[in-house]
């Protein structure tokens, strides 16, 4: 509890941090509430769909004869204007959307954590990192992503890199403010007195302390990356050769049937909603389950 009282930014979820210094096994764990196991169940379903779905279903393509059919037994999510099955497209889209979400989020986490911890411990680095983070946060991200993707040429790699490289500032800010709390703790001074260098202190002492926060960040950043990917693909900046949920939306828009063929937009949108909601709730639940305040301690 003492750590929360000295927190420089009280709005930052410090709970996860506090929890590490306490015993991890306690009532009120992650799965003690439905929001915990439900969100994880949804995420697991999505991962399984993304990994195994495309193995079981043929890649959507070509020109079919059943054009713009409403959802039915034969086509669960209906068909698009080329006669392709929307369900198959959504299943195939899961893989790319998840991949982009996860990889972009990892890129953002690696950059964000490195800069955040560096700034937290190394006083001379702090002003630079803070300034760059503030500048990045003030940039209009979507137009910037559109610009960079348009210049680099649309592909999954471009999407991953662009989204990842532009999403780290939030992570940096979060990690930095929490890292600073840890850096001010007596045991860090102890480590320094014992002769530990900056790299060792950052990687061995501070990093484990903020690890739970990183887990939360991964989930939240992944959720945002999925949305960014869908947005960019919808704007025609996605990889035209691989299926993603944004591309299904783009196709619906291009075919001029958004107003009538609701199933073309509804199901990919639902998938995006579900995935983002599930990972956000999982992140929040993870944080809550480690927060002594919300556990009534």
């Amino acid at each position: 509890m003492s750590s929360t009282s000295t927190a420089p930014a009280p709005d930052v979820p410090l709970a996860a941090l506090a929890a590490t210094s306490l015993s991890p096994k306690r009532p009120g764990g992650f799965f003690s509430k439905p929001s915990g196991w439900l969100s994880v169940a949804v995420l697991v379903v999505f991962v399984l769909t993304g990994v195994f779905g495309p193995m079981l279903m043929e890649r959507p393509g070509g020109l079919g004869t059943d054009i713009l059919q409403a959802p039915s037994g034969a086509h669960w999510f209906g068909t698009d204007d080329l006669g392709q099955d929307v369900f198959t497209q959504v299943v195939w889209g899961t893989r790319i959307s998840l991949t982009v979400g996860v990889v972009a989020s990892l890129i953002a986490i690696v950059i964000g954590t490195a800069l955040g911890l560096g700034a937290a411990y190394l006083k001379w680095l702090d002003p630079f990192v803070t300034t760059i983070t503030d500048v990045m946060l003030s940039l209009p991200l979507l137009p910037l992503m559109i610009l960079v993707t348009a210049l680099a040429g649309p592909s999954v790699t471009t999407l991953v890199v662009v989204i990842g490289v532009l999403s780290w500032p939030e992570v940096t800010r979060l990690i930095r403010s929490n890292g600073m709390v840890v850096a001010a703790m007596p045991y860090i001074d102890g480590a320094r007195v014992l002769g530990a260098g900056a790299v060792r202190i950052i990687t061995r002492e501070i990093l484990p302390a903020v690890m739970p926060l990183i887990v939360v960040s991964v989930l939240l950043t992944a959720a945002r990356s999925v949305i960014s990917e869908a947005g960019l693909s919808f704007l025609g900046m996605g990889d035209p050769s691989s299926w993603s949920w944004g591309r299904i939306l783009l196709n619906a828009q291009r075919s001029g049937t958004i107003a009538t063929a609701w199933w073309q937009t509804l199901f990919p949108s639902l998938a995006i909603l579900l995935l983002v909601l599930a990972s956000t709730i999982a992140g929040v639940r993870y944080n809550d389950s480690r927060d002594p305040r919300t556990k009534g301690m």
Binding site: T65, D81, S255
Partner: protein, 546 residues
């Protein structure tokens, strides 16, 4: 004192704010009511017809215009000697007729003396002479190609203009008559360099409707020209035509359903047509095509110079399924560059390239292409295909072709971009494959000259092909007077281009235009999406439904 001043200031501020608010409201209400009056009092000559379009006007100078929205608006403003009617026939507009003299070396147009510019000046032979000479001097647009053999333009009298040609050229009168806009000499001669003249304000026209005001990105308002002689007696019933810009076709369809617009200038995508067919108060009008959709290969780019590669590309385009699915059957296939609408000239002996991606791969491997780096793509066979994203059908075609090409080991990268970017890229030759749709070819000879001559007289040789043999064939045909021999030569060029696979023709589309039939009726549509429902003549015939 101090307090008093402060109070006074506060009071002034409140009053000012109040006045501003009132004026603001007043202006808004004024605008609103003008518009709604225009829309609702459909029975008077004040009726306003609102037309949806996907793109802005890029260029207001009719002498160089190429884009679709530009053409719609400018063709209504600047009359042509001839127009194309409902049956694809050329009929008089600003001319009352034409005749050939001196064995076809002089073409005489008699002008309709009723035409007048909106500033009161009569339209005369001088205007025609000025327009033609300006186009020749600055080599403007595709009309320049049609004027190649003009030696001089003679004003015989106020209403008679004579084109003297260096050699007889049968399609001359129809080609120039239909394509060449007539601009007011007394306005354009003051404008300086006509290749850069913007003409974006104070418009003077003689067509059915003339631009009155515009807000870029939003709307273009045209007013009826009371002097337009081809309007029904008593003048056009539609006094104002307003083009409203909807970059997204879905939004435009919704706007039509909601009654925010009365006509979609853009054809309805085949996939959306079915849903509009049964809609209340909306009717669909089908018109034929005078052009065709195609993939055109830029032969100056890498492996596209290789005939085998172009043939292989032609083999990965499944035109039959494309017509059946993407066009929902509303189109017909074609082989070679000559459209079946020119039935007489179409070489029916040609066999279309079969849809056979595996065969295409074999053809390429035989020609020496191989996949050295093992990425599934034959080395050197990765091309960028540009297309106009406002054409819903073609963006879908692009995806299908890309997938089928991948099977043959050809990688196609799609760049379906915003229309004006697309046009800029095609004009600048910045593409490898051009997926687009020709609007209007009014005769095959002009088409072949414009699209295949090395000298690129019309600026639309999108193959950028420089083929001496093809040049010789085209020039030889153009000089041929004998009808039967002429047809034979056109068919020979058709076969040559088909064998070279300079293009892969996709389809000749039937266009469907949707309009509010509960509000307006009596359109006189012409074939093609370039003309369609929105020619000045057609709009002038429209009457509001009571």
């Amino acid at each position: 004192m101090n307090n008093g001043t402060r109070r006074l200031r506060a009071l002034t501020a409140v009053v000012t704010a109040g006045v501003l608010a009132l004026t603001g409201c007043g202006l808004n209400e004024g605008n609103g009511s003008t518009e709604s009056e225009g829309g609702s009092t459909a029975s008077s000559a004040q009726a306003t017809l609102r037309i949806g379009t996907t793109t802005d006007v890029e260029n207001f100078n009719p002498l160089q215009s190429l884009s679709k929205t530009d053409s719609w608006i400018l063709n209504a403003m600047y009359p042509h000697l001839l127009r194309i009617d409902e049956n694809a026939e050329k009929v008089p507009e600003a001319a009352t007729g034409y005749s050939y003299e001196e064995d076809g070396k002089a073409v005489v147009f008699a002008l309709d003396e009723r035409f007048q510019w909106t500033d009161g000046t009569p339209l005369t032979a001088e205007d025609v002479k000025f327009s033609a000479e300006a186009i020749m001097q600055y080599k403007l647009g595709n009309v320049a190609a049609k004027l190649t053999w003009v030696e001089s333009v003679e004003v015989r009298d106020e209403n008679t203009v004579v084109f003297h040609l260096s050699q007889p050229y049968a399609p001359f009168a129809e080609g120039v008559g239909f394509w060449m806009p007539i601009v007011p000499a007394h306005v354009f001669s003051e404008a300086g360099d006509l290749s850069t003249f913007a003409n974006d304000a104070d418009w003077v026209g003689a067509g059915a409707y003339v631009l009155d005001s515009m807000t870029r990105g939003q709307r273009y308002t045209l007013k009826a020209n009371p002097n337009y002689p081809h309007a029904p007696e008593g003048g056009a019933a539609v006094g104002t035509v307003e083009y409203v810009v909807y970059p997204d076709v879905n939004t435009m369809i919704l706007a039509l359903r909601n009654g925010d617009i009365d006509l979609m200038g853009t054809p309805v995508p085949a996939s959306a047509a079915a849903s509009l067919e049964g809609a209340d108060g909306i009717s669909l009008e089908t018109v034929g095509s005078l052009g065709f959709a195609h993939l055109t290969y830029n032969v100056t780019k890498g492996a596209l110079a290789d005939q085998a590669v172009r043939q292989a590309l032609s083999m990965v385009v499944d035109t039959k399924s494309i017509i059946a699915t993407i066009l929902q059957g509303e189109g017909q296939p074609m082989v070679g560059p000559i459209s079946p609408i020119f039935a007489q000239f179409d070489n029916t002996d040609l066999d279309a390239y079969p849809f056979d991606p595996e065969g295409a791969r074999e053809l390429l491997e035989k020609a020496g292409y191989s996949d050295g780096d093992g990425d599934g793509v034959l080395d050197g066979l990765s091309f960028e295909m540009v297309c106009d994203q406002s054409n819903a059908n073609l963006t879908r075609v692009a995806e299908v072709v890309r997938e089928d090409a991948a099977e043959a080991g050809i990688q196609i990268n799609l760049a379906c971009v915003e229309r004006n970017t697309f046009l800029a890229r095609t004009r600048g030759g910045e593409y490898e494959i051009d997926l687009s749709q020709w609007g209007v070819f009014d005769n095959p000879m002009d088409q072949l000259r414009s699209t295949y001559l090395s000298s690129n007289p019309g600026g639309i040789n999108y193959n950028l092909v420089q083929d001496a043999e093809l040049d010789a064939l085209v020039n030889d045909a153009a000089l041929t007077v004998d009808e039967k021999e002429f047809v034979g030569k056109i068919q020979a060029i058709d076969a040559y281009v088909h064998d070279q696979a300079l293009l892969t023709p996709l389809y000749v589309e039937n266009f469907r235009f949707a309009y509010r039939s509960d509000r307006f009726e009596g359109f006189a549509p012409s074939p093609s999406d370039l003309l369609g429902m929105v020619t000045g003549y057609s709009l002038a015939q429209v009457t509001p439904v009571d």
